[in-house]
Amino acid sequence: MSYGTATSACRAVFVRDFGLVWRRRGDALNPVLFAIMVVALFPFALGPEPKALQQISAGAVLVALLLAGLLSLDALFRSDLEDGSLEQLVLSPHPLALLLACKIAVHWLTTALPLLLVAPLLGEMLYLPRPVLGTLMAALALSTPLLSLIGAVCVALTVGMRRSGMLLALLVLPLYVPVLIFAAGACNAAQQGLPTLAPLLWLGAALALALVLAPLACAAALRISLN
């Protein structure tokens, strides 16, 4: 019996996941909507003065995107668990970590990338200074995949549960802290006219590490929780 190559398995995962997202393309915009609403709340809370909003703009955008990502994280394995395809994935002869990396990549492309595209708009809503925008986008481009990868490990641990929302947030939050610190640190440095390369490089290094380790950890966690 032949199983096909790992490449073809990855391609199959990509095609299937994209197809599933495409069929429910209305849902795909939910995180974007959520992020816009969160950001829109800040002027109501802080008052409409551009100066006050400018001060917190980069941080607010980062937190809004982080929360939106957290909201969409729960759905990463949910439908696959319900229709049983997750178990097929675990039982498949191909390396599980590789297949999971494909799933995480699709998840990032369909939930985080739209958020990334809408980030300049969110920044504009809070009067983000123009020179900071480049740094913010770079920090987001490095940190959102990192958040997806770290989040996937935690989702894999909670996958069997019916109501995992609050628990997932509790598991993910301590792991998100360093990412948020460096991403916001880069933006704050840009706002003060300081060099921003160091925090961005730290994020890049963390991303490189997570790209290799997170799928492996995710596979191990999934094996534990599916048993």
């Binding site: 909670t158 995992s164 598991l171 802290v177 610190i181 640190g185």
Partner: protein, 252 residues
């Protein structure tokens, strides 16, 4: 087989561990309470008043031992989690999960007393100091481990998942500490140093060390009594647990 290895295998058997822990427990509790009494006496009566902080510094005798214990217990939990995941030893799963609430308790005490200490010294209940923030993240990690353990129906699977989370946490902790340090220096410069390089008076040092040792014994005692109960629950279908349950039947 080498006798030490044999003993180790025997230790892994729940009824043997239950009996051994039961025999050790009174000694551990006695040592812990005696140590605590001595340490508190030394801290409250013997140690001289600090020339800068007055009597408020006496909070150190509960704060610092708990801070040490919060990290020590986490390492203990993660090490047992590692053993549980690699060699699938049931006892290690039990020990790791029994350690989590104790560690959370120590972390909570450390945060609460630290904040009480901060109010008269720094004029604020809380500062986003690197160590305080790391300790807060540590509390979240503990709560995550406990929450995950209780959210999964199957006890052994729950223990393995939570042990895995504890291992992720141990990778995360130094990263958090490093990042918070970096963030902190960026924002507010150096914070208040509680001790710095100054020498600590011997009459302050021995109560502190006594408390540190006493909390270790307290942890050991609490850990063993928790592990004993967890084993009873885990093995409730087995004969040896049935005998214990029937032997302790309350006389009606």
């Amino acid at each position: 087989m080498n006798p030490l290895l044999l003993w180790f295998h025997k230790l892994g058997s729940p009824p043997y561990f239950y009996r051994l822990a039961g025999r050790l427990l009174p000694w551990l509790w006695a040592l812990a309470l005696a140590g605590l009494a001595l340490g508190l006496y030394g801290g409250l009566f013997v140690a001289p008043r600090d020339y800068q902080q007055g009597d408020a510094f006496r909070i150190i005798f509960v704060h610092v031992p708990c801070a040490w214990m919060s990290l020590f217990v986490y390492f203990f939990m993660a090490a047992n989690g590692f053993i549980a995941l690699v060699w699938r030893i049931k006892l290690s799963e039990t020990l790791a999960m029994a350690a989590a609430p104790i560690g959370a308790a120590f972390t909570f005490i450390c945060l609460a007393t630290g904040s009480i200490w901060g109010k008269p010294m720094w004029g604020t209940w809380w500062t986003w100091d690197a160590r305080l923030t790391s300790e807060l993240v540590l509390l979240f990690l503990y709560l995550g481990v406990i929450g995950l353990y209780h959210a999964i129906e199957d006890r052994r699977q729950a223990a393995r998942a939570a042990a895995f989370l504890a291992l992720i946490g141990i990778v995360n902790l130094p990263i958090v500490h490093f990042s918070v340090n970096w963030w902190n220096t960026l924002h507010q410069g150096s914070t208040v140093k509680l001790f710095g390089p100054s020498l600590i008076d011997a009459r302050m040092l021995w109560p502190l060390l006594t408390m540190a040792v006493a909390t270790k014994f307290l942890f050991a005692a609490s850990l063993l009594s928790r592990a004993r109960v967890d084993l009873l629950e885990l093995e409730s279908g087995k004969d040896w647990v049935r005998q214990i349950a029937l032997a302790e039947e309350p006389r009606a």
